[in-house]
Amino acid sequence: MTGERARNVDFDAVLALEVAAFYALEARLLDGERYPEWLELLTADVHYWIPGVENRYRADRTCSYSADHMAYFDDTLEDLRMRVARFQSGAAFAEDPPTRHVHVVSNVEVEATPDPQELVAHSVVIDYRNRGDQVGDTLYGRREDRLRRVDGNLLIARRRVVLAHSVLPSKNLNTFL
């Protein structure tokens, strides 16, 4: 990608602010374990994907992640609903007392697409997690979303989160990024 191509020449400040505000809302819902409300930010045809990341040589034609490889999440809305149902079952003992999350979203960039109702948004997500009296851990990832405007509101139609971790630095991934 050349510098000129990488630069977003049609910068739309209002739209960029709207997307940043949308992500702040999403992060607040996730921090508050308000998962049913979070689900409402997704389109019915959403694909939510967090691929596993492998250390591969630069010369390797296979990318460090790929669609047909194993993934932490490779989910439809129905799959995501099932995960939310677990959180809400009242029996998720490993979440009681609750984990404290701080989702931080930054580096938001917005690109237009040929479809006037859709845009591509790049962002960085960080989630600090703390449970009990443990030290906690921090997850880092770069996101690329396809956002769709439905009835005036932005919704997530596709999300890819590429983690900076080849080895997840903890026992689980008990949230959404």
Partner: protein, 427 residues
């Protein structure tokens, strides 16, 4: 070591001393007498289809390269340059023509032999330097129905003897289809602050936790609890040489958690063919409520087809690597369904696995307390339930709600720890 290992476990009464999950000296002994000695799972043959294909993995805390050489033989090479000790391979999977050390340019063939050195004339002038004497340390390698194992024991038993009659059980997943098995692409790695044995013994025999720990996932998937197993007349724990498999004969109990009708249809449609191949009992084990562990640290779940190793990282930490196993002859869409289903249930983001880690971490970390780690643990469930079964080999126990396989796991552990290595071991 001033501790007598045999004092730490009392399997006739079902008691375990918690120091085995905490003590650093015992851990070093495990690295020497278990991980540098046992046949350890290192790769699936499907990961190495062409010469130069490699994966890297761990044998204990020793990093190794598993690579197919030019003659088509799978080699297991210690990933350390014999010159200054640096790694010679830094990717975890890929395709190479050889291995070159980044430090001083020593290069090695796929068979581990030293092929070239940088500034060669200086070495050639050096008295006693002989390229033929130097190479990457190799392990002995053997395979059983697609699974590649390696050992650094200089005088190992055959893999067949190491697995023994556990092969009868392994065939349930490795040989229920004439085309054999393969791993789907990639793997997922994560870190748990738990002792490796706590995870391994769980898969060897702990059906008890399934209904309790995993209540939340069962509710989310089925809207109901895991069925009670303690009165299931067709439920067993079986073990051979410390390897354990707990199971019932419900065919699809584990597989149902993948939430995919085409998987259940596949299993039901194949039941007759699998019966012809493996007999009725094993045909009912293919996707049943079950779990298994090949001693010491290869675990898997029939049905979900999740395969994993618990690499030790000191006595209080383990690195988990997870793969998904499928039948090679299965339609592509089913392989995708297994891959996604296994990840949704048993990966660090899986709705089942998410509840395991916390339990195992506190089972380990609680032992920081001096008084705590002097409290014995109860492993007596199912004492006296051993049966003779006309078809099932090994030690067979009535009822999968049982600690029998865990007791066998720790018996084997103690047997190895108290058996000093021969002079050549690890050299």
């Amino acid at each position: 070591m001033s501790v007598d290992v045999n004092d730490l476990i009392d399997m006739d009464r079902g008691r375990v001393d918690r120091s085995i999950f905490w003590n650093d000296d015992l851990y070093q002994l495990e690295l020497e007498r278990i991980f540098a000695r046992c046949w350890l799972f290192v790769a699936h043959e499907s990961q190495l289809s062409k010469p130069g294909d490699f994966v890297t993995t761990w044998m204990g805390e020793d990093h190794v390269i598993v690579v197919r050489d030019r003659s088509g033989v799978n080699q297991v090479l210690l990933n350390t340059c014999p010159h200054r000790g640096n790694r010679v391979c830094h990717a975890e999977v890929g395709q190479v023509r050889g291995f070159v050390c980044n430090y001083h340019g020593w290069s090695f063939g796929l068979d581990g032999k030293l092929r070239g050195v940088y500034e060669a004339p200086a070495f050639e002038r050096t008295p006693g330097f002989d390229m033929g004497d130097i190479g990457l340390k190799t392990a002995s390698v053997a395979a059983y129905k697609g699974l590649i194992f390696a050992t650094f024991d200089p005088d190992p038993p055959t893999l067949e003897d190491f697995l023994g009659d556990f092969r009868w059980y392994l065939d349930v997943i490795l040989d229920n289809d004439p085309d054999g098995t393969e791993f789907v692409g990639g793997s997922i790695r994560s870190v748990l602050a738990c002792n490796w044995k706590i995870a391994s013994e769980n898969f060897a025999g702990d059906a008890l936790h399934a209904g309790w720990t995993h209540e939340s996932a069962a509710q989310a998937l089925f809207g109901q609890s895991v069925p009670r197993l303690s009165d299931d007349p067709d439920s067993f724990a079986a073990n051979v040489n410390g390897h354990g498999w707990e199971f019932n004969l419900d065919l699809v109990g584990n597989a149902a958690t993948l939430g995919d009708r085409q998987i259940l249809r596949y299993l039901r449609e194949r039941e007759r063919e699998v019966t012809e191949r493996l007999g009725e009992i094993r045909s009912r084990m293919v996707g049943s409520i079950s779990s298994a562990n090949v001693f010491p640290n290869l675990s898997f779940l029939p049905g979900q087809n999740a395969f994993r190793t618990w690499h030790p990282r000191g006595p209080r930490t383990s690195e988990l690597q997870t793969w998904v196993l499928v039948n090679k002859g299965m339609p592509e869409e089913l392989k995708v369904a297994y891959r996604k289903g296994a990840m949704r249930t048993f990966s660090p983001s899986g709705v089942f696995e998410m509840d395991d880690g916390e339990n195992w971490e506190y089972s380990t970390q609680a032992n920081q307390g001096f008084v705590t780690r002097n409290q014995p643990l109860y492993y007596g469930l199912g004492l006296g339930t051993e049966i003779e079964h006309p078809d099932m080999p090994g030690h067979v126990f009535r009822g999968q709600i049982n600690d029998a396989n865990q007791r066998a796991f720790y018996r084997r552990w103690a047997e190895l720890l108290t058996d000093p290595p021969t002079a050549a071991s690890g050299r």
